[in-house]
């Protein structure tokens, strides 16, 4: 099982380039696709989900060119788009039956699979309630259930935790971890903590280009001995931000505890263990850091 992305690019009408010269090779596991808003993540997701075509390059699924033969991937693909919507007057079973049919599943297989998935996403009790009355988290669980209907080999989820409360977010991350295994999962998000718990690989994307593709450990090594805690008076915080890359701040009685990512710590700063968020910000701020991976 292999997904090869080869010099992929997308330029929209009007000349806006959302993705350029993007290369990646993926094998089973969870890839966290991280990047700021507008980095090109959704464009890449749409291309990989065969929703839109690239204007440059191609990508292959097990050696088959999917830009030329999209149906070869569609039969083994599960896709949860960003801002997933529903038909509010259908219940979960009716909605999933509809999408199962569209995915080419027969009635008995679909029913069996729907029952299992509703159980997996903890919606069995709500299965006959109209989707319009579901909370954001419940809708998202319906979304992941539909993406898994055909037991996909490639699962693409685009910003799946947007709009979820913290408890639902944790539940979703756990679910995603359970689902990984003998499939490729691409999790697109701008929330670093979403990928921290689940990803076996991380790709950072900014301004439509791949900044770095590495394992979480490799990324963490980039900022090893480069993260510091520095206590500064609140009045000096703005000036500190000018001089250093600050990944987090917390106000305390003795001043602002700033988390600084820097090769050499500010005077009086104490070293801290690095987090993926530090590495993410460091790689985005230091373009050469990614190239060194």
């Amino acid at each position: 099982m292999k997904l090869e992305i080869d010099h992929l690019g997308k330029t929209y009408r009007g000349g806006i380039t959302a993705l350029k010269d993007f290369n990646l090779e993926l094998r089973p596991g969870v890839l966290g696709l991280l990047g700021p808003n507008g980095a090109g993540k959704s464009t890449l997701m749409n291309i990989l989900a065969t929703v839109t075509r690239p204007t440059q390059g191609t990508f292959k699924w097990n050696g088959v060119d999917i830009v030329q033969q999209p149906n070869d991937l569609r039969s083994v693909l599960g896709y949860l788009p960003q801002d997933f919507g529903i038909y509010p007057n259908l219940n979960a079973v009716e909605f999933l039956e509809y999408l199962a049919a569209v995915k080419g599943m027969d009635v008995s297989t679909a029913r069996r699979r729907i029952n299992g998935l509703l159980d997996l996403v903890n919606l069995t009790d709500a299965r006959h309630r109209p989707l319009g009355g579901f909370s954001g988290g419940m809708r998202q669980r319906v979304g992941i259930a539909q993406a898994l209907l055909n037991d996909p080999q490639l699962l693409i989820v685009d910003e799946p935790t947007a709009g979820l409360d913290p408890e639902e977010r944790v539940r979703f991350r756990n679910l995603l971890s359970e689902l990984s295994g003998e499939r490729i999962v691409i999790l697109s998000t701008h929330i670093v903590s979403d990928v921290e718990a689940t990803a076996t690989g991380i790709a950072l994307i900014a301004k439509g280009t791949l900044v770095v593709h590495a394992t979480p450990e490799e990324l963490l090594r980039k900022v090893e001995a480069r993260v510091w805690e520095w206590i500064v008076p609140s009045a000096e915080l703005a000036a500190a931000r000018q001089r250093y890359l600050i990944s987090n701040t917390m106000h305390r009685s003795d001043g602002v505890h700033a988390r600084v990512v820097s090769a050499s710590g500010p005077p009086g700063a104490t070293p801290l263990p690095a987090s993926l968020e530090d590495a993410y910000l460091y790689c985005l701020a230091e373009p050469n850091a990614g190239a060194a991976a």
Partner: protein, 295 residues
């Protein structure tokens, strides 16, 4: 077989989604009001000073013509939002990531539109049966009562259902301009129905011919007057006996031709359909989607 399975589920889901809305109940209620309007003599079918004997043939033809005229003018606007809904909810992008073909999609949506409009035809068909029971003479002749709905009204709504999908797939015709364009297209088609036998979309021409033939034998002064209007029955005081259309195979084929036209329109729509490619979706839809996402 796979295609039928897909079409069934696509039409079923879309149909259920729409019929469970209050707005659908309102449209069904309006269809019921039309039947009541006929019962109370507020909607009139008259040929000069004549109206038909209140038998199954007359009520069937009368209500079927009400259905075709009303749904030709209004039905399009009732069903024209199904592709847009898939765009705005992003369900379309999920569909785009499946092996669903463009034609399966536009045909499935056409069938769904057809099912919604056919429900309204059904209300009027039931209305015709009730009218026959309340005001009719003789027993119900089910074929004469229902064949106008089956062979006149349903092919018309099939074509309207497909046109609604086609207009949604053409960027310039999705909005207000499309609504105005449709109005001119359909009023033109209805006008042609009366004058050109080979393009009798609404079936009015068939009835004018059949009823006119009977009347001309009865009254040599009759001059092809045929009106379907909201008004009073007072001017149509004379009664003539009309026992319905005698369907020949060529007449049936002529009506089925409109089902073929509907399929052709659905196919044309599939050629123009953007398959939810965000690079091809309209700017208006994108703005609406963003609004939905923010809610």
């Amino acid at each position: 077989m796979r295609t039928f399975h897909v079409l069934y589920h696509m039409a079923r889901a879309d149909f259920l989604e729409r019929v469970r809305r209050y707005s659908f109940l309102l449209t069904m209620g309006f269809a019921g009001l039309l039947a009541i309007g006929v019962y109370r003599g507020e909607i009139v079918l008259a040929l000069g000073k004549y109206h038909g004997t209140y038998n199954s043939a007359w009520f069937g033809a009368f209500l079927a013509l009400v259905a075709t005229t009303f749904l030709s003018l209004v039905g399009f606007y009732i069903v024209k939002n199904t592709v847009q809904r898939d765009e705005q909810t992003h369900v379309g992008r999920i569909l785009a990531a499946t092996p669903l073909s463009r034609f399966e999609y536009t045909l499935g949506k056409t069938i769904s539109n057809f099912a919604v409009l056919a429900s309204m035809v059904l209300v009027l068909a039931l209305g015709a049966a009730v009218l026959q029971l309340l005001r009719g003479s003789g027993s119900i002749d089910w074929w004469q009562l229902l064949s106008p709905f089956l062979l006149i009204a349903l092919p018309v709504v099939a074509a309207i259902a497909a046109m609604a999908v086609l207009f949604e797939t053409i960027p310039g015709l999705r909005g207000g301009f499309g609504n105005v364009t449709y109005f001119f297209v359909i009023t033109g088609l209805l006008a042609v129905s009366i004058t050109l036998k080979s393009a009798d979309f609404s079936g009015i021409g068939m009835y004018m011919q059949s009823m006119g033939d009977v009347l001309r034998k009865l009254d040599s002064s009759y001059r092809d007057s045929f009106t379907l209007q909201i008004g009073s029955e007072q001017n149509a005081t004379e009664v003539f006996q009309w026992d319905g259309l005698h369907w020949t195979s060529s007449m049936v084929l002529q009506r089925l031709l409109w089902v073929g036209v509907a399929l052709a329109i659905a196919y044309l729509a599939s050629l123009l359909f953007h398959r939810f490619d965000p690079a091809k979706e309209s700017q208006k839809s994108k703005i609406k989607k963003e609004n939905i996402a923010e809610q």
